[in-house]
Amino acid sequence: MGRLFKLGSRKRGFIVKRSHLSPPKFAQWLLDIFLKKEQEEWILGDFEELFQSVAMDYGKNRAKAWYWIQVLKSVPSFIRNFIYWSAAMFKNYLNIALRNLKRHKLYSFINISGLAIGLACCILIFIYVKHELGYDRFHENSDHIYRAVLGEYQKGKWIYSVGTPEPLGAALEQELPEVEQSVRFFHPPWIEKWAVSYQKKSFYEEQVFFTDPSFFEVFSFPLVHGDPRSVLDKPHSIVISQDAAQKYFGAENPLGKVLMIDNHIETQVTGVTEGVPPNSHFSFDFLVSFDAMPYKWIFNNWRTQNCYTYLLLQRTYSSSELEPKLSQFQKKHFGPIENIKLDFQPLTDIHLHSRDFRQDIASHIGDINSVYIFSAIAALILIIACINFVNLTTARSINRAKEVGMRKVIGAQRTQLIRQFFGESILFSLMALFLAVFLAIGLMPHLNRLIGQNLSLSQNSFFETGLIFLGIALIAGILSGIYPALYLSKFQPIKVIQENYSTGTKSYGFRKVLVVAQFTISIVLIIGTLVIFRQNRFCMNKNLGFDQEQILVVPMWDSQAQRGFSAFKNKLLKNPEVISVSGSSSIPGKSVGTRGMKPEGNPWFPRDSIVVDEDFIPTFGIKLIQGRNFSKEFPSDSGDAYIINQAAAKEFGWEEPIGKQFIWRGDRNEKGTVIGVIQDFHYKSLHQRLEPLVLFMSSGAAAYTSIRIRTQSTLNTIASIKKNWNDFHPGHSFEYFFMDNHFDRLYRSEKRMGKIFQYFTFLALFISCLGLFGLTSFMVNQRTKEIGIRRVLGASGGSIVMLFSKEFMKWVLVANLLAWPIAYVVMNQWLQNFAYRININLWAFLASAFIAFLIAFFTISFQSLKAARTDPVESLRYE
C-alpha cells in the first residue's frame, strides 16, 4: 500500500486540509484482516474515498468515528462472505478426505485408533487432574479460609505439623485484625474410632469431630435441618450427616434425638447435613459441640498440639503479608524459639500440598507430583499418537503428491493447501474424539477402581466438558497436521506430475526422529513402571525392625474397653493360642501421638510418643540395646521412666542416654528418666524417616491390644480370641486385623500408582507399535519389487525380515540411549518421596531395552514376514 499522504504537522486551531488526513490506522488494519488479497486494493480505496468526503463535510473527528463505525459494521458481512466461499471448497476437501480414508483403510484405522486411544487417555487424566485441583473450592469463602500449621526446623528443612494448641484459634481471632473467625476441630490421631450409640444401636465411627459453632459460618456445608449460624450453639449439641441419620434413626425424625458418644457423653441432635462432597479434604459424619469434648487437659494449654485450627480471614493474603504479624504473635505465645514457625496454609492448597505434613486430618492426601506426572503422561501419549499421524501421512505423501500438483496447476495457493491438510488432520482427530469419548466412558469404572474415587465424565457441566474435549481434539489435530501440511503443500507441480517422482526420501530423516521420540517416551514409561514395581516390593519386604508376622491386633475404640484392658489381657493370657499380649496407645503404622517435652540440653518440642505396657517390646520383638525394659517390679516406671529409640539418642546428642532427664508438661515441671534404648523400628511407613520416639509406660489402659499368637490354626485362634472379647466386652463388635496386612496397606497409593503407570505404559507402547506397524507395512509396500527380486535371487525369509528390522532396531537403540538418562532423573525424583528407597540399578534399564527391542521386532516382522512369504511372481507383477 503506497501511502501518498503522511500525517502533516497538525496544530490546534488549524482547519485541517483534506490531504493531511488518513483514516485511523488500527481500523484500517482490522479491516484488512478480513479482506482477501485481491480485494484489499479497491475496498480499502472505497473506504478511504468515503472517509475523505465525510471529513470534508463534517471534520476529521466525525470522519474518524464514522470510519470506525463503518469498519465494525462491515465486519459481519465480510465474515459471512468468507464462510460462503469456504463452504464451497470445504465440500471438496471433505470429499477428498473421506475418499482417502476409505481407500486406505489400514492407515486410517491406525491413525484414528491411535489418536482415539491417546485422546481417551487425555480425557481420563484430565478428569482426574481436574478433580484433584478442585478440592475444597465449593466453599463460598474458599479463597480466604486458611489452616494454621506449625513448622519445626529439622535438619535443614521445615517440617510442618497440622496439630495446633487448643487456645491458638481464639487468640489469633482476638489479636490479629485480619482474622475474622476461627474454628477448632478436635479429632485426635490416637482415637481412630468413637463408639456412638442410640438406645440399643451401637457402632464404632471414624468421622467424629468436636468443633465450634462457627463451623458452618466458615465452611459452606449445606444443612438439611438447622440454622447454620446457631446449630452448634447449645452445649452438647451434635450435627450429623444424612447417612448417619439414616443409619441410627431410620425413617424417624433425627432432630432432638439423644446420641451417646463413647458411652458416656450425651449429645442432642440439632442439625442434619447433606453429607460431605467427595472433593473435601476432610469428611465428617458427626460434629459435636466443643464443650462435650472429654479431654479437658488440652484447654488453655499451649504445649499440646491436638486441635486443628481453621481461620476465616478478611481476604486473601500473601504469606509475606502475614509473616511479620505471625512471628510477633508467635513470640508472645510460644516464647522466643527460633526453630518453630507458625504459618497459614490456604484451604485450597491443603489437598495437594500437604504430603509431608505430620498428623494430617485428611483421609485421602493428594500429591501435586502425581498430578504433574499424570498430566505429563497424558501429553506424552497424545504426542505419540500425533507422531503416528505425522509419520504415516508423510510416508504416504507420494499418494497425495499428484493431487497437490493438480490442485496447484488449477490455481490453488499454498495457504489453501495448508488449510486443506489441516482440515484433514482435524477431521481425523474429531473422528477419533468421537471414539475416544466412548472409550473413556468404558474405561472410567476401571480408573475409578484403581484410584479409589468415584469420578465420572458428567461431573462437570456438559457444555464445559464438551468444549474442553473439543479443544483437546483440536490441539491433537493441529499438532499432527502442522508438518504434513507444510510438507505436502511445498511440492512443485512440475516435478510431482512427472512420472517417476519419488517422495519420502526427504521426510525420511524427520520420520526417523519421530519414531525415535516415540520409543524414547515408551522406554521411559517402561523404566518407570519397573522402578515403581521394585520400590513397592522393597517396601513390602523391608526389615522393619520388629517382627510383624503373627501379630493380631484388636483395636479398642471405646474408653470403657480401654480402661478395662487389664481384664481383657488376663483373659487372653489364659488362652493357649496366645503367646503374649501388649496394650499400647498406638501400634506401628497407625499415627502416633505427640507429646511436648524438653529433653536435657534440647529445646522444647512435641515428640512422637507411644504409651506402652511392659510387654510391648517383647511382643513386637523389638531389640533392646541398652538399659532395661519397663517392669512391674519398679513401680516408679509408670510415669517417670522412658525408653527412647536410637534416633532419639542421636538427635538429642546423648552418648550415654541412660539416666538422662526429660521435662514434660512444662507447666507442672514433671520429670522422667531414660531407662533404656531400643533399636530403631519403623513405626511409620517407609515414606517417612524414622524420628525420635519416646515410649512411656502405663499399664491398665490401652487403645490397641496386640496379641502374638502361635502359628497353628489361625481361624480357631481368631474364634477363641473373639470369645475372649465377647466375655470381656459384651454387646460390642469384635474388630481385628493382622499386623503384616495392616502395614502393607500403607503402600496402597503406591500400588495404585504402579498399576496406573502399567496401564498407561501399555497404551503408549501399543500406540507406538501401531505406528511402527503402519510404517513397516508402508515400506514393505514400497519395496515389493525389491523383495520379489531378492527372493528370486535366493534370499531367505529371515534375511528379508532382517533387512527391514536392522534399520528400525538402530532407531530403537538410539531411543534407549536417549531414554535412560531421562528415566533416571525422573524416577530418582519420584523415589525422593520415600525416606527409604531402592537404588536404581542397571537391571531396570536393560530389561526395558529388552522389552522395547522384542516388541519392535515382533511388530516389524509381522509385516515383513508376510512380504517375504508372498510368491515372488506376485510381487514382481505388482503395480
Partner: protein, 110 residues
C-alpha cells in the same frame, strides 16, 4: 436458473444507472439514496462478489486517485447474462405487481 435476490436486483440496476462510474462507493450511495436506508459499505461487496461469481457482472480496474489514498477503483459492468437475469426478474415482478392499483383502490373504498 435461480432468481435474483432483492439486493442483487437493486445492485444490478444501480450499476446500469451509474454507467461508467459504478463502483463500491457510488453503488452504495445510490442504493442508500433510493432506499433511504444507510447501508454499511461492507454490505455492498457481498452481493457484488456473488454477482460476479454467477457471471452477471464483470469488473475491471480503474485509475488510482488521490482521494483514495492512491488506490484504484474496481468498476463494474453488467454482462449479457446479467441482462437476462434482470429480464427474468422483471417478468416475475410485472406479473406479481399487475392489478396492484386496483386492489389499493378496493381497499380505499371499503
Amino acid at each position: 436458473m435461480k432468481l435474483l435476490s432483492r439486493i442483487e436486483e437493486m445492485v444490478l440496476l444501480s450499476i446500469l444507472r451509474l454507467q461508467d462510474n459504478a463502483y463500491g462507493v457510488t453503488i452504495r450511495k445510490l442504493i442508500s439514496e433510493v432506499t433511504g436506508k444507510r447501508w454499511s459499505i461492507g454490505a455492498i461487496y457481498v452481493p457484488l462478489e456473488r454477482l460476479e461469481h454467477k457471471g452477471f457482472v464483470e469488473s475491471y480496474s480503474g485509475e488510482p486517485t488521490e482521494i483514495r489514498g492512491g488506490r484504484s477503483k474496481r468498476l463494474y459492468k453488467v454482462t449479457s447474462e446479467g441482462f437476462n437475469a434482470l429480464e427474468e426478474i422483471k417478468k416475475v415482478n410485472k406479473v406479481l405487481w399487475e392489478d396492484y392499483s386496483n386492489w389499493v383502490l378496493e381497499k380505499g373504498d371499503s
